[in-house]
């Protein structure tokens, strides 16, 4: 095994052995130095740099490969057609446009972890709790951010006026079908913080998604699409919410006094740190407008160490991280 253990003199174990035997104290020893450094060599508040490639899959409308450290995610967006006449319970006319995508279920994200990405998730089983929760988090974030305008996903048809109708009444426009986007997120390699990487991959893939021009063919009673790339349109994203995750490592325990415990906030935790830390916080921020950005979502679980002040600090770190991720998205 190549772990650099050849020249370990004396009775000392190599680093990897310590990390396996006592993960908690190992991380603590790193963080309590005067200049805290994480086992990966990063500073506590330093994230991993993402690299993004888009459009590498042949058979999808949009795709992206995102690497954040040792976590690699492939996302493919595939568009299929849902006929409006097939919708079993058509939404009422006065339903808000923002809710329609969710009501019709036009965005179908699914996270697949059982691709052999890590020994903990072996294939052949239905998705486990982690994969399910990731899928639902991506789905709810997609729906509540109203990322894609419904207009981009509808296929309309100008119905010629019926003969008995009044002549000066122009053709009416009806929605004949919708594009349903299947967003499949495959985790190829997993080393912590799957949500941030998955969400980044979804955004990058959606940004590169093109939908072909489609129309209702009244003679064939079917939707036809133009195969020409020149006719196709890109999916426009209304905003660019980006996620940053933080984990809290704490030495507090029920056996100690409250003030004795020390805690550190670490940004973008990797797989090893995720196992040790209980409390995590995910902040999804939207781009800054007029000086201040919006917070789309705060997800925090597992403890009560992050208070008001730390939360403020995390949000501002997430805003800094937003520009890093956004630059990667633009470059990709």
């Amino acid at each position: 095994m190549a772990n650099g253990s050849i020249a370990a003199p004396g009775l000392s174990f190599p680093r990897d052995t310590f990390a396996k035997l006592t993960p908690g104290p190992f991380l603590h020893a790193h963080l309590k130095q005067p200049e805290p450094v994480r086992p990966s060599g990063r500073a506590p508040e330093e994230g991993r740099n993402p690299t993004i490639n888009t459009g590498s899959l042949t058979h999808s409308n949009g795709s992206a490969v995102v690497r954040v450290g040792d976590t690699a995610i492939v996302c493919g967006v595939r568009a299929e057609i849902l006929l409006a006449s097939d919708v079993p319970r058509p939404p009422s006319d006065n339903a808000k446009e923002a809710d329609l995508i969710e009501q019709l279920g036009l965005l179908v994200p699914n996270v697949e972890l059982s691709t052999g990405c890590s020994p903990a998730y072996l294939p052949g089983n239905p998705p486990g709790t982690h994969a399910q929760s990731l899928s639902y988090r991506v789905n709810s974030l997609l729906n509540e951010s109203n990322l894609i305008p419904l207009k981009d996903l509808t296929i309309e048809y100008d119905e010629p006026a019926a003969e008995e109708a009044v002549l000066d009444e122009g053709p009416t426009t009806v929605v004949k079908a919708y594009w349903a986007l299947y967003i499949d997120i495959l985790c190829i390699a997993l080393d912590g913080n799957a949500f941030d990487a998955a969400w980044l991959a979804v955004l990058a893939a959606l940004q590169s998604t093109t939908l072909s021009k489609a129309w209702w063919d009244a003679d064939r009673e079917a939707i036809l699409c133009s195969p020409l790339a020149a006719d196709a349109h890109k999916v426009r994203l209304t905003s660019l919410p980006l996620a940053s995750t933080f984990a809290v490592f704490s030495t507090a325990s029920p056996l100690k006094q409250r003030h004795q415990g020390e805690s550190w906030v670490i940004a973008d935790p990797d797989g090893f740190e995720e196992d040790v830390c209980k409390e995590t916080l995910t902040v999804v921020v939207t781009p800054k407008r007029k000086g201040h950005g919006g917070i789309l979502r705060l997800e925090k679980r597992g403890g009560s160490i992050i208070g008001k002040d730390l939360m403020r600090r995390c949000v501002s770190m997430a805003e800094d991280r937003w520009s890093v991720l956004e630059a990667a998205l633009r470059g990709g």
Partner: protein, 335 residues
Amino acid sequence: MQADRRRLNPPAGGTAAPIFATPPTNTSKDKGQTTKLTRPTRTRNPDEHRKLFLRTGVVPSASGSAYYEIPPQQEQQDGSLVPARSSLKITCTVHGPRPLPRNAQFSPNLLLSTHVKYAPFATRNRRGYVRDSSERDIGVHLETALRGVIIGERWPKSGVEVVITVLEGEDDAWWGNTERQEAGWGMMGVLAGCITVASAALVDAGIDCVDLVTGGVAAVVDHPSGGGKNDSAAARGRRLVLDPCPAEHDEISAACVVGYLQGRDELTECWVKGDGGMQVEQLIDEAVKASSLSRTVLVEAIKESVEVKTGAEVEAPNGEPKGGKGKKRDVEMTG
């Protein structure tokens, strides 16, 4: 059918893949006429393999891993959204050898299990999330190919898992050919790629093998231009090609995949499908030739990864850890 409650399901109405209209021609001469679709043609020689890309060590958390790709040879030129042909992208991870669970029966050998799954976006028609019969089929063939090379006696009471995700698979036939859509010729090419990539991942995991196994595929293709349907096979222009891309041929009548050990001149896996007629032996020979060609790539990829590994080890003891960003460094642990 009951909905899968562990995944997010498609809209209740059910969706259909888009149907593309044939684009009208732009030339003034025959305006209004629809264009004729042209099938991509094979531009390389019959005994020429497509370019391969192979890399090991792509998944750090697994004991061994590899990525295999046949990159698209030429870019899409006609401005069409429908891709003319498919390329091949496969990732493989190996987990193990690791002890079998306590309740498992005693096994004197290493237990090998293979798992092949296509990604939902891998092929022209969307795939399901649950493995279907063709994926199981490839898995079984892959297992026979690998079982012959692993020295299983060295790991009693342990198991190893080979997990393959096909990110992009080969087409079964040219998509514009509406008459022949059956017969999974695409999976033959995928299996050959799976054997090669799994072999690379096994080496990366450090599992003892008797030799490097590589996959190769060859096919007998028909060229109807040679004459009518009633002519003999030779007159119809039957040809042997190595590493066929099903989209480039009008009709494939037989194909063969082998798992070949070049060092020992042995086959661990041989799968012939279709009517090879008198040419079956030649067909197998061609497949062997294809697998020796992909072996050169495999050897190069392994050499490269070994150089990276040993280079890192040589550097570690004498190179002073710089302690900068991204460098791992030792810390004092007390209490």
